[in-house]
């Protein structure tokens, strides 16, 4: 995260890189999300002013698409694939086990801001099902028993892994 540049300027840079085209709203939001791990309200306000879009439209888009979060996320992002191929290979049990072991519900961030647990509809790595992504890294062919090791991976890593 390049937190060095103050927010309005950084958001302006992102908008400028898309020439403030309305078409690029979703992509601008994605980059802002990547930058801050969520969509800060001030950033949305800035986008509204700079791209001349109604705040209601931006808020609608930000809450419609699954990729966006209006709340800060945890240090680690754990995504459980719940695509059909993973579902028939029992990803549900793995998800439930992760919820229990990480003490966080799906779609939420743990109270200590360490982990965000979410589900994704197919990451396209069906051959490896069931798959869990931890900070972008695939862990495949999982069993419920293997979750314990996953939790260790998450807990032991001091910072989020860059991939």
């Amino acid at each position: 995260m390049s937190q060095n540049t103050p927010m309005p300027e950084r958001v302006d840079e992102i908008i400028a890189s898309y020439q403030a085209r309305t078409t690029a709203l979703i992509m601008v939001l994605q980059e802002v999300q990547q930058e801050y791990s969520y969509l800060p309200p001030e950033a949305l306000q800035r986008i509204s002013e700079r791209m001349d879009l109604a705040m209601s439209q931006i808020y609608g888009v930000a809450t419609f698409y699954k990729a966006f979060s209006l709340e800060p996320r945890g240090k680690h992002l754990v995504s459980v694939c719940t695509g059909t191929a993973c579902h028939v290979r029992n990803s549900q049990s793995i998800l439930e086990r992760l919820e229990r072991d990480l003490h966080v519900e799906r779609g939420h961030t743990s109270t200590d801001r360490e982990v965000t647990l979410e589900t994704v509809n197919c990451v396209g790595a069906c051959a490896l099902g069931p798959v869990v992504l931890i900070d972008g890294k695939h862990y495949g062919h999982l069993t419920v028993g293997a979750v314990e090791k996953l939790v260790e991976v998450i807990r032991q890593c001091p910072c989020s892994v860059e991939h």
């Binding site: 078409t23 994605q30 439209q57 888009v61 990729a67 579902h87 229990r100 509809n121 051959a127 028993g145």
Partner: protein, 669 residues
Amino acid sequence: MRPIVSPKELNDLRDRLRAAHDPNHTWVQLCAGTGCLACNCEPVAAAFRQKIHDEGLEGVVHLKLTGCHGFCERGPLAVIQPQGIFYQRISPDDIEAIIDQTIKHGKVVTKLLYRDPASKTRIEKAEDIPFYKKQVRLVLRSNGHIDPTSIEDYIAFGGYSALAKALTTMEPERIIDEIKRSRLRGRGGGGFPTGAKWETCRNAKEEPKYVICNADEGDPGAFMDRSVLEGNPHSVIEGMIIGAYAIGSHEGYVYVRHEYPLAVKHLTIALDQARELGLLGPNILGSGFAFDIGVSRGGGAFVCGESTALMASLEGKVGEPRAKYVHTVEHGLWDKPSNLNNVETWANVPLVIEHGADWFASIGTEGSKGTKVFALTGKICNTGLVEVPMGITLREILHDIGGGVPGKKKFKAVQTGGPSGGTLIVETRDAKIMRSMEDAGEISPGDAVTSLLDLPVDFDELTQAGSMMGSGGMIVMDQDSCMVDVARYFIHFLIEESCGKCLPCREGLRKLHEILERITKGQGAPEDILTLQEISETLIDTSLCQLGGSAPNPVLSTLRYFRDEYDAHIRDKRCPAGVCRELVGYAITEDCVGDAKCAKVCPTGAITGGPRNLQVIDQSKCIQCDACYQVCTFNAIVRVKRDRAADVQTTARQTWKPVKERTQAEARA
């Protein structure tokens, strides 16, 4: 790089690139598609580079990271060229052997070859492996051979020659005519004739016109489009330029899922390269035709695969579909004529132009021409990406190419077309159901013996059989899949993905889910079946878009083919497949060898017994998490009806013998 300003210069470049290819060099084509990346192909690539460097083989041995080879099950994969040796499940430790033996001495590393489970022999070349043998790879022809980040590679493999041909020798009308004669149909699932679509868009009065590539592959279990964009993005770009020229458009968009970062990356690189070479821009190949393509990433919404929702999303709005009483080819993006095709369709276009409509039409069946790419997943041995000619039977795909169901499990069904396209094709069916279907006139007498698996892959044949081609995801299910749960799963998926605009989809899916949830919890009532059907019909009739209109398909098709499973849940409060948690209990049978693996994984400490002793599940502590079932290698843990679990456990206690005694008894016998 200097822009190419004429088709001749393109040919010259191609000739130069081909001439530079030294036949004595070795190329290691290592698969770096998402599937292989996920099974650690990066360390393999690093080891290759290191070894090549250490051995001083740079310039003689080239490592090429290619797109998906298709055989994801066996990844990481590599093909050693020019010999064409196919290595699979490579680990970094194997690199030494590959370089030392194969590359230096031409010897094959046997343990890395694919072993055919049927003949139990090792197979050296990819084309001899059953998985590849029956495939006809046209769209995927260069996947696995070219470096997707190199436009030179694509050009050397004959890329952009179709574009040159189209721009210099064909009028736009001729191109449309050619596409029409090829009888190419949309690969996104609907199967609408591509040529006719282009023609309507060309004839639409308003300007400007847009061409759009739909790469929002939201169906879970489908990764055809991703693999094409990752492995051969230029084929899609080339198709789009030809299409834009034919339609009279100067602006194109690719709408791609943000969940596919690699595809976005490769596509962006490819577009930049094409622009640099003058294959996109104000004057393509000196023809005066101007066209450019922008990339738009989706925000994670399945409904954006629907054309009108996709266009709304492109406009920077929420992905809400609108009624299509006026077609998008006339009023689409920004209310202007817009031609939308799926990735695979666009990738087919250069093939048709280059080889001609007659050649293309010679492949496939009467109504469906060319090939179709499928993503084979689920309970199947050879998970992966396959491309087959139209007309091939499902049995050939699943059994010959896919290698059937792993383990000793029984095949149950295959699901095609994603959550909303979803129709299930079954092999074995209840005689009673067959008879009722005969009575209902759904199948003709005698058909009962021919399995639906022998249906040819063909748009019309599949539709007629109550199934559909879909976009290409094929998910195989075995005896361990509960069909009521599958229906509930798909409806749940759609609830999360419905945009919520129209009432039937929003409220109807909620109701369907409520009912299915009740049934899977053993609280179903006999009249629920009728209600499910009634809601399904209303959804089909009155939904605004196809997401809602086809949403009940999983419910209706499971009801049609697996009514017995519904009855078991409702009447007997039993889940035959042992999936529905509320109905299932876990018990350990006399087969237990006492290795206590299950006790180790049990998160609640419900399993006790001690080493080399019968393990016992405390039913009051068991949370049905399935961990023990998955870990037991002796099939000693069974999923039974909840209230029977204690009985099974008691029986096991009475009959269980230590392993030693058992072997002695066997020896005596």
